[in-house]
């Protein structure tokens, strides 16, 4: 009799322990998932609150080639909605058809951003928008000339008046309208979001393992966290080129060769990757983080060799691909003439 009881006991204890462990693991993964819930509202700053008039006008400006000196380039030439608001180039081509030093970043989900450009040199989207219009290598436009040009289009005069009563067409208001439109550019729900909301079949087992790795062994979430998969932080992840990035804007040692952490939404539509467009595929990105980075003094202390197995690398990529949403088609605005 005795041995039987103890065997039952052992089984009983084992079952209890196993179920405790698995519920612990479940709690862990529930906790992990909690941090990735989508926000319900887009934040707009007090100084530039949302109105339909501003957003409609901003969209027109974003798609209007008359913003460039030679009337041949729009914001969307480089931030193209067909490529998840990038341009599929290593580094982009501007006016007059010159190569820029850095890769075009997406304008998706920037309403939640803190500092703008790869090196964070711009404090707001309002300020940022006026940069490329004037930049020699981008749209090369003189702001006063642009304002005169827009004032000659009666449709624009009316729309600026509606969006900014008694102010009309000014550089500041061009920035405000474009920024308002940009904040409305938000990626839609992806399979990952459906999974977060409780649909267990929304992503497959490999992707679920990949999510776990992303948060644990692969340590991606120490920088790519939250629903947009970025904390908007600056790091040297060891790409090895000479560009000093944020250090040129703020001379603090830790910022040498550091660049802004991009969000990872719709990322498989956004190749090539990184500030210099040097990585062509997500597989190359994962290899980079595993062991392909350059070790130098400024390398982020969050960067360590990962020793991922082939299977783990595969799972990580499978997970990242679940962040892509099938966003509604962007219609081209009719422009005033």
């Amino acid at each position: 009799m005795k041995p039987k009881i103890s065997r039952t006991m052992i089984i009983f204890v084992t079952v209890i322990a196993a179920s405790m462990l698995s519920s612990l693991a479940n709690a862990d993964s529930a906790l992990m998932r909690d941090g990735f819930k989508r926000p319900t509202d887009i934040p707009f700053p007090e100084e530039n609150g949302y109105t339909d008039a501003k957003a409609v006008l901003g969209k027109m400006l974003f798609f209007d080639p008359r913003l460039s000196r030679e009337n041949n380039i729009t914001c969307a030439s480089c931030h193209n909605p067909s490529f998840a608001w990038e341009d599929a180039q290593t580094t982009s081509v501007g006016t007059p058809m010159s190569r820029l030093g850095r890769h075009t970043p997406t304008v998706l989900n920037l309403a939640w951003g803190e500092l703008f450009f790869w090196d964070g040199r711009s404090e707001s989207l309002e300020e940022q928008a006026l940069g490329p219009i004037q930049a020699g290598g981008e749209m090369a436009q003189d702001l006063d000339l642009l304002i005169a040009e827009l004032k000659a289009v009666s449709g624009y005069v009316d729309m600026f008046e509606a969006a900014f009563p008694r102010e009309g067409i000014t550089a500041e208001n061009i920035g405000k309208a474009i920024a308002t439109y940009e904040r409305t550019i938000v990626s839609a729900k992806a399979p990952f979001d459906h999974w977060i909301e409780g649909d267990e079949n929304a992503i497959n087992a490999a992707a679920k393992r990949g999510f776990e790795l992303f948060n644990t062994k692969a340590k991606c979430a120490s920088c790519h966290d939250g629903w947009n998969f970025t904390d908007w932080s600056f790091h040297d992840i060891g790409l090895g080129d000479a560009d000093e990035g944020r250090y040129e804007v703020l001379d603090i040692d830790v910022l040498k060769h550091s660049f802004k952490t991009p969000g990872l939404r719709n990322i498989n539509e956004r190749a090539p990757y990184m500030h210099n467009g040097s990585l062509a595929t997500l597989e190359e990105v994962v290899e980079h983080y595993d062991s392909g980075f350059v070790k130098r003094a400024s390398l982020s202390s969050e960067m360590q060799e990962l020793n991922l197995t082939k299977g783990e690398k595969h799972d990580l990529v499978a997970f990242i691909k679940t962040l892509s949403s099938n966003d509604p088609q962007v219609s081209l605005p009719k422009l005033p003439n």
Partner: protein, 110 residues
């Protein structure tokens, strides 16, 4: 000139203070960094007071502050490290993490 016993006493006292004093003065304020946030959004201090910045996170931070164009940089702070900044001049300081610019606070010194 101090007599020898006095001198000794002073040295002893000095040592005692050095040994027992915490690494920051009593009126220093502690601010923790956790979840990529400062525990305070705003602080009011008297000139000369200092703030001890403690990293309770599992990622590194780098606190810095600029006042009147002068920068004070605490350098890289790994998890569990701590370091303090003395706020000597009156004025309004903006404190930020150089790595995580969403981490920011305002320190008013009078």
């Amino acid at each position: 000139m101090l007599s020898t016993p006095y001198k000794n006493a002073t040295i002893c006292l000095g040592l005692l203070v050095a040994c027992t004093a915490p690494s920051f003065s009593d009126d220093s304020v502690k601010v923790t960094q956790k979840g990529k946030q400062f525990s305070e959004k705003q602080l009011s201090l008297k000139a000369g007071q200092s703030v001890l910045f403690v990293n309770d996170d599992n990622v590194a931070h780098n606190v810095y502050t600029i006042i009147k164009g002068k920068k004070q940089d605490l350098g890289l702070q790994k998890p569990n490290e701590e370091n303090s900044i003395a706020f000597e001049q009156s004025g309004t300081y903006r404190v930020r993490c150089a790595i995580h610019p969403k981490m920011k606070m305002v320190v008013k010194v009078e």
